[in-house]
């Protein structure tokens, strides 16, 4: 006597089991992204040339490109780009650095957490651009007020991302550090910080995009040179070619920034692979 109790399925029809898995795993082949840009620009170019998109509603992409080339030739590109990049780098670096430092402190010390989390929550939703007049009074009309604005705007999202990332560091790794009697500073520098790095970097992506937005806003409110000032001038003259040239520079800046963080992620987070 065996355990088998089911009668053999003798004459029943045999058919393959229907496949129901797969999907839900988007990948991103590089060329598709580029293709979307090319198709969109080609469509606009064709539309403006064929005439069913009026020159008043949309500038011709080739004209925008020509404007960009002119801008580069005349040297005005650098006159606008250099102050903008300086503001972005100085302001963004201050904001990100202080943000990471404060975020780590919130993640490590109860008193700091209890004191600063509500404060950060109160500061986060303030539209920072509304504070520009205040910053002008505090730091003067020059560069310092723009640095402060950009730094402040980058600071809050960086803090939130950083302490969230520190909270998510695997506690068993910290216990491990303690069980080997590692010093406090080694635990923070070699266990907590690397563990929080993925979260910090993805937070930086958001904060630096915010930094670009604030840069333009600050330059629109008061700057002689800078991409924001350039766009504002073009906009008030309804010079769409120059307006789009300025916007294209900003887009490129954003892509470049995101690419830079991508490179940093590859180098620092190679262990994730």
């Amino acid at each position: 006597m065996t355990d088998a109790t089911f009668p053999p399925a003798a004459e029943a029809e045999a058919r393959p089991v229907r496949f129901r898995g797969g999907g839900f795993r988007p990948s991103s082949p590089r060329w598709v992204g580029a293709l979307v840009f090319v198709v969109l620009i080609a469509f606009l170019e064709w539309g403006t040339r064929a005439g069913f998109i009026s020159n008043l509603t949309m500038p011709r992409p080739s004209d925008v490109f020509a404007t960009l080339v002119d801008l580069a030739r005349s040297g005005m590109l650098w006159t606008h780009l250099v102050p903008s990049l300086t503001r972005l780098l100085v302001g963004g670096a201050i904001g990100a650095f202080v943000g990471i430092a404060v975020g780590v402190m919130i993640g490590l010390f109860s008193v700091v957490r209890a004191g600063l989390v509500p404060l950060v929550a109160a500061l986060f939703p303030i539209p920072k651009i509304a504070l520009l007049p205040l910053f002008v009074i505090w730091f003067g009309i020059d560069e310092a007020s723009k640095y402060a604005l950009i730094a402040f705007g980058t600071f809050t999202p960086t803090v939130v991302a950083t302490y969230g990332a520190v909270d998510n560091v695997d506690r068993t790794l910290i216990r491990m550090g303690q069980s080997f009697s590692l010093s406090w500073s080694t635990i923070v520098l070699r266990i907590v910080l690397p563990g929080a790095m993925p979260g910090i970097l993805s937070g930086l992506r958001v904060s630096l995009a915010i930094a670009i937005i604030l840069l333009v806003a600050a330059e629109m409110l008061g700057a002689e040179y800078g991409i924001g000032a350039y766009i504002l001038q073009a906009g008030s003259l309804y010079d769409l070619e120059r307006l789009f040239a300025g916007v294209a520079i900003l887009s490129l800046l954003g892509v470049l920034m995101s690419g830079t963080i991508g490179v940093i992620e590859k180098r620092l987070l190679g262990w994730r692979a």
């Binding site: 069980s179 009697s181 590692l182």
Partner: protein, 255 residues
């Protein structure tokens, strides 16, 4: 160096976890702690190594640890606790360099422990590239690198599949036979306990208290899978624990 647990009791808020546990951990022996899930055996292990403090009672060291012991009480964790951003040797060198051991001396220690755990070819590998069994061997190598007076192992084989567990158990026995070490080994697996333990402490379910202490005198190297004496011991342990485990299984979790 011996360890002695002096009437340790512990409670979280109003839940009593451990009750009046006294125990001797003699040098050169492996003490296994078994018990139904939730009986506080892992908590007890954290008390022994000073990672947590009991509400009452204390753990005392008797005698000084050997002079060359860098970290006398060293843990091996169930989930390995390897830093994923450091290579195999990086995980070991971090600990050594924090204790002031760098360069040639660190180099020779790392080479030695990797050889003892059969990991020499995997020095540069990342933890993510290793199987569970290899990860635990790295964790064991890291623990050996600090030359512990007592190894505190918290279910070190529980995250592994049964074949890997068998292999690693053999490795542990080989390591001990070559150079006996003191260990406290927490497990819920009775087969592991009778293979590795010189002394097996059976805890009752919560609040955990010492139910019985079983001594096994047979040398570790002679204990194979089909040994009738070990089988009898294992049956005896299961007999002690069965009702407790059943009752523990039906308890609600208070966390």
């Amino acid at each position: 160096m011996d360890l002695r647990l002096e009437s340790i009791s512990h409670r979280y808020d109003d839940v009593e976890v451990l009750r009046d546990i006294s125990l001797d951990i003699p040098a050169g022996r492996i003490v296994c702690i078994v018990g139904p899930s939730g009986c506080g055996k892992s908590t007890l292990l954290r008390f022994i190594g000073g990672l947590e403090r009991p509400t009452e009672g204390q753990v005392v060291q008797i005698g000084a640890p050997p002079a060359d012991s860098i970290n006398p009480l060293t843990y091996v964790f169930q989930d390995f606790a390897l830093l994923p951003w450091r290579s195999v040797e990086g995980n070991i060198s971090l600990i050594l360099s924090d204790h002031g051991i760098r360069g040639r001396k660190a180099e020779s220690i790392i080479a030695d422990v990797l050889a003892r755990t059969k990991l020499s070819e995997f020095r540069k590998a990342w933890p993510r590239q290793l199987s569970g069994g290899m990860k635990q061997r790295v964790a064991i190598a890291r623990a050996l690198a600090v030359n512990p007076a007592v190894l505190l192992m918290d279910e070190p084989l529980s995250a592994l599949d049964s074949q890997t567990r068998e292999l690693l158990m053999d490795d542990l026995i080989a390591l001990w036979t070559r150079q006996p070490f003191t260990a406290v080994y927490v497990t819920h697996n009775l087969a592991e306990a009778v293979r590795l333990g010189h002394r097996i402490v059976v805890l009752s379910r919560r609040p955990g208290a010492v139910n019985e202490i079983v001594e096994i005198d047979m040398p570790l190297a002679d204990r194979d899978l089909a040994n009738p004496e070990l089988d009898a011991k294992q049956k005896h342990l299961w007999h002690l624990m069965r009702a407790e485990a059943e009752a523990a299984d039906k308890e609600l979790v208070h966390d």
